[in-house]
Structure formats: structure tokens, C-alpha cells
């Protein structure tokens, strides 16, 4: 029987090459890390493959949730939104990530941002405390004190691109709960509203992945 310890087997043979090979294949099968070329890193939504890009108006005093799945541990350090129609002067938003239970409802708050401005048309990049996300299901959450319109992807959720029943019913566009603007609650507030349109799930938040 061969026992592998620290990259070598009992015969002292280096098996790290094989380990790297296995890792490469593993990475090809599951979402891991982030696309990167040279020093340029791409940001990801982790909620599925975008079908198309569009914009979405997100109302004030609502917690909007975007489901996402993490397949292998990653470290995140920022999030990105693009505001295309701004809120009024001085308006703000907050972002956080919750663990999600098997009902896709929020449980513990994993990380939360400071307030970021929604009062101008811009790409907004906000730093997050460096946080490791283990494999599992999560809900990105965003809430604001003003209605604003964001760039979004559509058709991104493999799990919530669903409908409650067949027929002429539209698929789910988003899930949310009405809640006065404040720091995100911990544990989270269960969503109780489902928005449906023919356009599929919308996700307005991208994540900056630090490692791997």
C-alpha cells in the first residue's frame, strides 16, 4: 500500500506533478478561482452563466437577493456594481453575503460592506474585508435608501430560473423582501416576494475574487 505524505510516497518518489495534473483536471470540472490574464483579473457573479446583459431598477427599502454557488473555497475582497440611473444626492447602499439554507433563505451574514454611494452614474467598486467562502450556497444581498438602476446579467441562476407552475407563467426574475434601509440584519431577513418576467433571473452584483 502506498501512503502519500507531503507530495511524496513512501518510496520517496515526487508525486506533486501528478497532484498538479489532478488539480488542473479538477479545476476544469468545477468553477474555481477567477479568469485572469497577465495582471488583469475578471470579476464574476458566481450565480450561473449570463444569458444576456441588461439593466434593472432596484427599489429602495427592499433587500434584493441574488443566489450564488461556490464550488471550492475562494477568498473575496470586493464587489462591483454599475449604476446607470442614479439615486438622489447623498443616497447610499449596502451589500452583504449570507449563507443560504436548503430553502435558499438567508441565515448568517458572512460579510457586509460599508455604505457605498448610489448617487452618481458610475461603476462602483467597494472593498470587502478579505473573506473566505467555503463551498456552498449563498445569497448576495443589496439594499438602498433610493431607487437606482443597475447593469445586470439576465438568466444567471440555474436554480431560480424556475417557474412555480407550467403554462404562461413567467420565470423568476428576482427575490426580495421589503425592509427599511439599514445595516443588513444578522441573521438575514427571509425573502417573501418573487418577481416574475419572461426575462429570467437578474443579477446586478459582481464579486472580486482574490484567491485562488
Amino acid at each position: 500500500m502506498t501512503v502519500i505524505v507531503d507530495g511524496t510516497n513512501v518510496d520517496g518518489v515526487d508525486v506533486s506533478v501528478h497532484a498538479a495534473d489532478i488539480d488542473a483536471h479538477h479545476s476544469a470540472e468545477v468553477a474555481r478561482g477567477r479568469p485572469k490574464y497577465g495582471a488583469t483579473e475578471l470579476i464574476m457573479q458566481l450565480s450561473g452563466d449570463p444569458y444576456s446583459m441588461s439593466t434593472i431598477s432596484l427599489a429602495l427599502n427592499v433587500v434584493h437577493y441574488f443566489p450564488m454557488i461556490v464550488h471550492t473555497p475562494i477568498t473575496i475582497d470586493s464587489f462591483f456594481v454599475e449604476i446607470t440611473i442614479a439615486g438622489g444626492a447623498g443616497t447610499k447602499g449596502r451589500f452583504g453575503i449570507y449563507n443560504a439554507d436548503t430553502d435558499w433563505q438567508p441565515t448568517d451574514l458572512v460579510v457586509a460592506s460599508a455604505e457605498f454611494a448610489v448617487d452618481g452614474v458610475a461603476v462602483v467598486e467597494t472593498a470587502l474585508a478579505s473573506t473566505v467562502l467555503q463551498e456552498g450556497r449563498y445569497l448576495k444581498a443589496i439594499t438602498m435608501d433610493a431607487t437606482a438602476t443597475f447593469t445586470c446579467s439576465r438568466g444567471t441562476s440555474k436554480l431560480l430560473g424556475a417557474i412555480s407552475t407550467l403554462g404562461a407563467n413567467a420565470p423568476v426574475l428576482g427575490i426580495n423582501v421589503a425592509k427599511a434601509y439599514a445595516a443588513l440584519a444578522d441573521p438575514g431577513t427571509a425573502w417573501d416576494t418573487v418577481v416574475n418576467t419572461a426575462l429570467g433571473f437578474h443579477d446586478a452584483v459582481w464579486i472580486g475574487i482574490d484567491t485562488p
Binding site: 446583459m53 441588461s54 439593466t55 446607470t84 460592506s113 460599508a114 455604505e115 457605498f116 454611494a117 452618481g120 452614474v121 458610475a122 461603476v123 462602483v124 467598486e125 467597494t126 472593498a127 470587502l128 474585508a129 418576467t197 426575462l199
Partner: protein, 59 residues
Amino acid sequence: MLRTKLHRHFDVDGKELEPTYIEVSDAQLAEEAKQAKRERAIQVLEGLTDVQLSKLGNL
């Protein structure tokens, strides 16, 4: 021709840092404008009643 988009930065404490600018092409801006028009058209269509839609279908 390249144009720029404002890129605002906030640190973990919510302090706004110096902005930077993202270069985008005229083609990208044009595509975004076209996409916004499409989205608006869809929103208008979704707001129509069945009767209005049926009249539209008869045009």
C-alpha cells in the same frame, strides 16, 4: 475612439477613494445604448393590456 466611464472606489470603511476611469469604445457605448432601448421597449410591451397587445398584433 475610446471614451471613459467613471469608476468610483470605496474602501472597507466606506471612505471614497480617488476615482479612476475605464476606457470603453464607441462600439461598446453604442451597444449599451441599443440594449437600453431594447429593455425599455420590453418594459413598455409588458405594461400593455391584452386588448392593447391584440390591437398591436392586428397592425
